[in-house]
Amino acid sequence: MTTSPSDSPADLAVVGAGPAGLAAAVAAAGLGLRVTLLDAGERPGGQYFRHPAPGLGAARPEALHHGWADFASREAALRAHVSAGRITYLPRHHVWTVTPDPGGGPVWALHAVVGPEEAAATVGARGVLLATGAYERQLPFPGWTLPGVVGAGGAQAMLKGGLVLPGSRVVVAGSGPLLLAVAGSLAAAGARVPAVVEAAAYTGYAAHAAALLRNPGKLAEGATYGGALLRHGVRLLTRHAVTEAHGTDRVEAVTVARLDRDWRPLPGTARRIPCDAVAVGHGLVPQLELATGLGCATRLSPDATVALEVDAGQRTSVPGIWSAGETGGIGGAQLALTEGEIAAHSAAGRPVPARLARARTRLRAFAAAMAGAHRPGAGWTGWLREDTDVCRCEEVPAGRIREAVEDLGARDARTVKLLTRAGMGWCQGRMCGPAVAALAGTDPAPDRRPLSCPVPLSHLAALPPRTPLTGPPTGRPHLLWPRRTH
């Protein structure tokens, strides 16, 4: 237990120490706010700037990163602010809910589960910035539950954090620019990458030439990745997908097929590529449960994910709650850094510097072009078999989900869940949600998870007795009461 709402609350609590949260925390402290920075991770940086623990003794962690200086300068600033008492930095704190003050005052309570021991902590703050980032979107295919099939971002995270590879011959597949970065890192770290299998056609970007030309930095980044792939002899197969992973106890090969414009596999185009691992991902999904629990308004992004609605100052629709980075729509680390600094100015009651506002507009335009180009086509469900597990946790196959939709009349992911248990397991639909929504023929609904991570029952029992344990009614703030003592 570090602080409580009854202690002197921070001016701003920042949830997440990735690019957006880290930039926001140091900028806000620099503007005179007292900041508490809570992060589920062991070290600052989030997923993008994930790096080996000091004990691993990496002499050149920057070799695994693009834009490491952006992190190093802010990490140094974080240390200085912590030493000076302007930032309270709380790593290993997984915030599972944020609740308003029952008295209606301007104080929020952030409830966290701390470390592997799952201790309880509650932190009070006058304003909250949600910089909770994203997780990877996965579209299932036969064999995707075999060991050796890992998330593309997951392979990258394990490499950046633990200096390990899932195999020695790794096919990288799915959709989105992350695949190029992942393939480049894996190859640089010694893996053979026989192919990057990209479902979209990069010609999708051509419709957004203006947004591309205003972002020469992004084009240079793309060229860097492209050059790295050429150097390592990696083939880029666009408009192709891995439609099956083969093996019994682990991956031994994949089938790759050519896709039509709607991502439907074309008959007669399948071929086999031997490999001992597959790194797969189809873009990222904003992680929103804390925000939707508070009633923050959402919007549908061009990549078919749900993101938070924010204004020019990064304010959500709930007064006192800000958001920055991937929670407001997938846009990459540069945009996250920019938005974090904008949110800090806004939370400090300062005008947003024009250079930050311009950078945000420019980078958001690029993000929209990118999102549109990699939006999954409807035909991907053509590579599912009836027995392909869609929900990994509850082991619910595509056939049962189709039965729920076609025979039992389910018209959304929630009804499919009630009928089949898809999305009812440990991950609470984080892995299967987009796929189930697609099979139900709908856009994904905003995340509704009253607890953002497993919470010991003792923590819930310790909440005041008037606390309802159900989620909030649509669009209304949570009425959970904050804990005032520990």
Binding site: A40, E42, Q47, P52, A53, P54, G55, L56, G57, A58, A59, R60, P61, A63, L64, P116, Y135, E136, T145, P147, G148, V149, V150, G151, G153, G154, A155, Q156, A157, M158, L159, G161, G162, L163, V164, L165, P166, S168, R169, A188, A189, G190, R192, D249, R250, D276, Q287, R392, C393, E394, E395, G425, W426, C427, R430, M431, P454
Partner: protein, 113 residues
């Protein structure tokens, strides 16, 4: 000869990329094996280093599973650490003296009625 060492000598490793040396090494007990571990690695990273990709079997079909998302979102890498089941191997740092065991089903079979 393994894929990793075939061809023009030894392939690069992640360690070659970032250089340096780990502060400390020890061995982690996994089921009946001793695996080399480096300070700062997660349990999942220790297992991957040893070429082990699966350390759990599912409740319904006893299918093997290990790391999938790598960032704590998917809960596929659950493992029993020092008798405590359902720990996410990708998040939990490996510590000297830890005994990690393959997790079957819910990890709570002892509570079954």
């Amino acid at each position: 000869m393994s894929e990793a060492t075939r061809g023009r000598g030894r392939r690069r490793s992640p360690r070659d990329l970032v250089g340096g040396t780990p502060a400390e090494t020890w061995s982690l007990r996994f089921d009946d094996r001793e695996l080399p571990a480096q300070s700062g690695q997660s349990i999942a990273a220790v297992l991957w280093s040893a070429g082990i990709l699966a350390w759990r079997t599912t409740r319904a079909t006893a299918a093997p599973r290990g790391v999938f998302c790598g960032i704590g979102s998917c809960y596929d890498c659950l493992v029993t650490v020092n008798g405590r089941p359902n720990q996410r191997a990708c998040l939990v740092p490996a510590r000297p003296g830890d005994h990690v065991t393959t997790q079957e089903g819910t990890g709570h079979d002892d509570l079954a009625v």
